[in-house]
């Protein structure tokens, strides 16, 4: 699974795991029903304490993002279309939150900030189209 | 330059060299002292100094210094990285090496010279000129040694360490040169003793100018022939039983001792001491027993063998190997070698003993004496030995010798027959002697009839010129002299194990290196000083002091005779005592705290300054 752990980032490792798994689910890399690697194998692969993996998994389970089946590996939960959308929005909000803080600290007015944001999105769409 | 000399790696070996000098001096004195003790065959000690034995001892001492240096690091890595000309490094190490050689020979010669000078007034006919000759001997070896040092330094002069074939070659050449030159100097007038030094300077100068500007740092020779990765890891899983036990033992031994020096030095030395202690020389050729006078020297050597292993215990810190096992590995091989040497000497000695006539009727200084080995004599503790009596009332004062003023006790021979004894008395005494020594009864009448006759001057002389009881005593072995072995070994072990325990106690983390050094060197110094003191007293006092060793052996014999259980009882007591001492030292060994950082410092431990 494509997970990168950065021990220096200031964010606890279990949180990093949770965030990255959620992102993969939201972006479609992990689909509902896909199996997740076992605690042991993921800990061996990442070089991380298995308890940390366990913790991340249990939080994700608590949030109903992943499901536990008796005697079988954990799988990504089935999310209704509405729940999936909500998940994506949550991800988006989390990503934008630091930017909002920066915008306020820089003292940029809202309209300008929105204009910049719209411009960047348009540029990104154009680039993607050109590549095709 | 002085700074370089101070930092020179050879200085780390200074302690070892002092040990060698000490042993060489002691060995030299042993040789001299033993010969001096052989009365009445007194020869001038000076002749001994030119004999083969002394040359061998000193050659070995110098060879040792050169060997240690040839196989060690000559220039420190730290100094190589400094902007110093390589010639200077070469010169400083050559100087230090020369100083070491001169130091060892000077120590040996000096000790001998000082003793000789101090005692020459008491024993003029023996020690006349001894001091001067001792110094001359030392000078010859010192000068030859300097040449040897320069020769060793001329092999690959710009390499920080020589190894393998080159080291062996350089060392062999140097030692051969030293021995040959020293022997050659014997034949030359004394003033020419400095010739080798001139040669050394010439050779040194040539090497010095030829030293390449860069010193190559040589760690150790590299060998890169490895098996494929991963394979072979499981080889050796099949080691079982004896092979495994030997592998374990050998690994522990190798880890704890400086290889290959330890076995090369230890094995011959311990065997030699064992043989000496067995009294084989005395058994073969007569002379005074001296075994107990060597006790402190052997303790000193045992103490020297114990210095290294405790400092290497850190190698086993992570292994579940008990300290008891490690203690056994560091101590028992030494004792085993000593015992083997002793056993071998005893076997050879006993064989020789069976051939000799122990009861003799010999002509010494104008008259005939009945002579038996002194160990079969008796002791009178008050200094007033009883007269030897006969059934018909004739009695005479026995031959006796005091012990040089330490105690009132005297050793006396109950079998002596002084001037004026009747023939019957002489025969009676001989008969008694035979009974005591061989346990066989030979009638005095038989002796008188077959072996003795009245000579021209009316004295009793052996019939046929030489007195021999071989006819009656064919195949009879002399009675054993009592359990000397256990007592001897106990007296060697006791000071050693006490002091070694003190040394172990000092090996804790937190005790400064200086303290550790003091403990070790004071113990060594104490043993050595006691040994030398013993010899001093021996040379200085009346003849009779040398009988001290015999005195102890007689005491042991009488003790065993009086003890319940006899000789076995003595063995048991000594065995228990030795075992107790062993455990006593082992307990302290188990608590040693060994630090890998001090492995380097271990070199420093061996420096007394």
């Amino acid at each position: 699974m494509l997970i990168v752990v950065d021990p220096q980032s200031g964010v606890p490792i279990y949180r990093q795991l949770m965030d990255q798994i959620r992102f993969h689910i939201a972006s479609g890399l992990l689909r509902p029903g896909d199996e997740l690697p076992s605690t042991r194998s993921l800990s061996a692969e990442l070089g991380v304490n298995p308890m940390t993996i366990s913790k991340a998994y249990s939080f994700l389970e608590r949030d109903a993002v992943i499901e536990r089946r008796p005697g079988r590996p954990l799988i990504v939960a089935e999310l209704a279309a509405g729940e999936m959308r909500e998940e994506k929005m949550d991800q988006l909000r989390e990503t934008l939150a630091p930017s909002v803080t920066v915008i306020r600290q820089l003292g940029v007015p809202r309209e300008e900030a929105l204009a910049v944001f719209g411009e960047m999105l348009r540029d990104e769409e154009n680039d993607t189209e050109e590549e095709r | 330059m002085r700074d370089l000399i101070r930092r020179d790696p050879a200085r780390g070996s200074l302690g070892r060299w002092l040990v060698i000098a000490g042993v060489a001096a002691a060995a030299l004195l042993n040789v001299v002292g033993l010969v001096l003790a052989r009365q009445p065959d007194r020869i001038a000690a000076v002749e001994l100094l030119n004999g083969f034995a002394t040359y061998l001892v000193l050659s070995l001492a110098v060879a040792w210094v050169l060997f240690v240096d040839a196989t060690g690091e000559r220039y420190r890595r730290f100094d190589i990285t400094l902007p110093l000309p390589s010639r200077r490094l070469w010169l400083s190490h050559t100087i230090v090496l020369s100083i070491a050689v001169v130091g060892v020979t000077a120590t040996v010669g000096g000790i001998a010279a000082v003793l000789g000078w101090a005692l020459s007034s008491k024993l003029p006919e023996i020690l006349d000129g001894f001091a001067g000759q001792a110094l001359l001997l030392a000078a010859r070896f010192a000068s030859a040694g300097v040449l040897g040092a320069v020769l060793v330094q001329s092999v690959a002069p710009a390499t920080s360490r020589i190894s393998g074939r080159r080291a062996a070659f350089g060392f062999a050449a140097a030692v051969a040169a030293v021995s040959a030159v020293a022997a050659a100097l014997r034949l030359l007038p004394a003033a020419l003793v400095v010739i080798p030094i001139f040669i050394a300077v010439l050779v040194g100068r040539a090497t010095w100018s030829a030293v390449s500007p860069a010193i190559s740092f040589q760690g150790s020779s590299k060998e890169r022939r490895y098996a494929p990765v991963g394979e072979g890891i499981s080889d050796g899983a099949g080691r079982t039983g004896i092979a495994r036990a030997w592998f374990s033992f050998w690994t522990m031994y190798r880890a704890l001792n400086k290889m290959p020096l330890a076995p090369i030095v230890m094995i011959p030395m311990l065997l030699a001491f064992g043989v000496l202690l067995s009294g084989v020389k005395r058994a073969a050729a007569g002379g005074t027993p001296f075994r107990f006078s060597m006790v402190f020297l052997v303790s000193y050597m045992l103490m020297a063998s114990c210095a290294v292993p405790p400092m290497r215990l850190f190698l086993f810190d992570a292994f579940p190997i008990s300290r008891r096992k490690l203690f056994a590995v560091s101590v028992l091989p030494i004792l085993v070698l000593l015992f083997i040497g002793y056993g071998g000497g005893r076997i050879a000695g006993d064989a020789k003993l069976a051939e000799r006539e122990l009861v003799e009727y010999v002509h010494i200084e104008d008259s005939y004496h009945i002579r038996v080995p002194i160990e079969y004599c008796s002791i009178d503790w008050d200094g007033e030995p009883p007269e030897s009596a006969s059934p018909w009332g004739e009695s005479h004062a026995p031959w006796s010798t005091s012990l040089g003023g330490i105690t009132d006790a005297v050793i006396y021979s109950p079998f002596s027959a002084p001037e004026g004894s009747s023939p019957e008395f002489i025969a009676l005494q001989i008969s008694r002697a035979v009974a005591a020594v061989y346990g066989e009864r030979v009638e005095p009448e038989s002796i008188l009839d077959h072996h003795l006759e009245v000579g021209e001057d009316g004295r009793l002389v052996p019939r046929g010129g030489a007195f021999s009881l071989r006819g009656e005593l064919a195949g009879v072995r002399p009675r054993p002299l009592g359990p000397v072995f256990p007592v001897l070994m106990l007296t060697i072990a006791a000071p050693w194990l006490f002091l070694v325990r003190l040394y172990y106690r000092s090996l804790r983390a937190g005790i400064s290196l200086r303290t550790k050094r003091i403990v070790y060197w004071c113990s060594m110094g104490l043993l050595f000083a006691v040994h030398i003191a013993f010899y001093l007293k021996g040379i200085a006092s009346e003849p009779g002091f040398w009988e001290g060793s015999a005195f102890v052996e007689i005491v042991i014999r009488e003790w065993a005779a009086n003890m319940p259980g006899g000789a076995v009882g003595v063995w048991v007591i000594c065995g228990l005592a030795a075992f107790g001492l062993y455990r006593f030292a082992e307990a302290e060994f188990a608590r040693i705290e060994s630090n890998p950082g001090e492995e380097k410092a271990m070199e420093l431990l061996m420096r007394p300054v």
Binding site: P50 | S220, V229, G230, G236, T251, F319, S594
Partner: protein, 298 residues
């Protein structure tokens, strides 16, 4: 839960009253991975050596599997694996010889694991230990320590002087041992990233005492670093006086303080006590917290 390793009031001094360890008390439960932190000379190596029975605790007690490692050294060492930065292996042995020695000494030796580790680490069995590089020798030590599936693994700066790839191998092997054999691990390290990855609990020694003994998550989430701009009334003493403050470090224009509180509560506490509001409180990675804590002890 069973306590595998217990230190209770351990004292150890070297020269004349200079205490290295001054009453250290903490313990390890089964299957924990604990990181032991501290500046050089804080006593980490001494503590681990005491646990191995190499040094004697001058007062206090240490129990490994309930036993005193000085009294029963062989029984303890049979179940412990030990790798240290300053460990010296017998230099005259070959790699396969030293593995053979361990094979014979440890009853729980696992040949499969030994082979597997040896091949992962690319060890050459014929190589003489004296000719190995530092990293290779350390790997040999790790194979020897791990292949007998120890119940307790004591690592004293095992990654000191090693390249990052070698360091990662150490971590992965430790994790593997935990997963496969349920090994408890105590390791001291200066590489905070490694500690962050692998430790679940952190014990920090300072001045011979235990300064911090917390789970790593709690340390990260329940602690923060506050940057308080210098100004009137802002002194080290006053900050230290605030409850929850663990240490204060004076810098050029500000004071850095470590709090055992969340960022919000720290900011609130400082605002209340010192009447300053432009305080920057944030959660930080272990390395920064270590620096602030250690620098902030008077």
């Amino acid at each position: 839960m069973k306590k595998l390793l217990e230190f209770d009031g351990v004292h150890r001094a070297y020269d004349r009253g200079v205490d290295v360890l001054h009453g250290v008390t903490f313990s390890l439960n089964a299957k924990e991975i604990v990181g032991l932190l501290g500046v050089n000379g804080a006593g980490k190596t001494t503590l681990i050596r005491i646990a191995m029975g190499m040094l004697e605790a001058q007062s206090g007690s240490v129990r490994v599997f309930g036993m005193d490692p000085r009294e029963c050294p062989v029984d303890v060492k049979r179940r412990v694996g030990y790798v240290s930065e300053d460990q010296i292996l017998p230099p005259f042995l070959r790699v396969r010889d030293i593995i053979d020695i361990h094979r014979g000494l440890f009853p729980t030796w696992d040949e499969e694991m030994a082979r597997d580790l040896a091949s992962t680490f690319s060890l050459s069995p014929e190589a003489k230990i004296s000719k190995l590089s530092k990293g290779q020798a350390r790997r040999v030590a790790l194979v020897c320590a791990a292949a007998h599936r120890p119940e307790l693994l004591l690592l004293d700066e095992p990654a000191g002087g090693l390249d990052p790839a070698a360091r990662r191998e150490f971590l992965e092997t430790s994790i593997r041992l935990l997963n496969e054999a349920g090994t408890t691990i105590l390791f001291s390290s200066h590489y905070m990233q490694d500690v962050e990855r692998v430790a679940e609990r952190v014990v920090m020694l300072h001045d011979g005492e235990v300064l911090i003994d917390r789970s790593l998550d709690d340390l990260r989430e329940g602690h923060c670093v506050a940057l308080v701009p210098a100004g009137d009334g802002v002194t080290k003493q006053r900050l230290l006086g605030i409850e929850g403050c663990l240490g204060v470090r004076e810098r050029t224009d500000a004071l850095h303080a470590v709090f055992a509180l969340s960022p919000e509560r720290s900011a609130a506490a400082i605002a209340t006590e010192l009447d300053v509001s432009n305080v920057n409180c944030r959660q930080v990675a272990l390395e920064e917290m270590f620096i602030e804590l250690v620098g902030g002890q008077s």
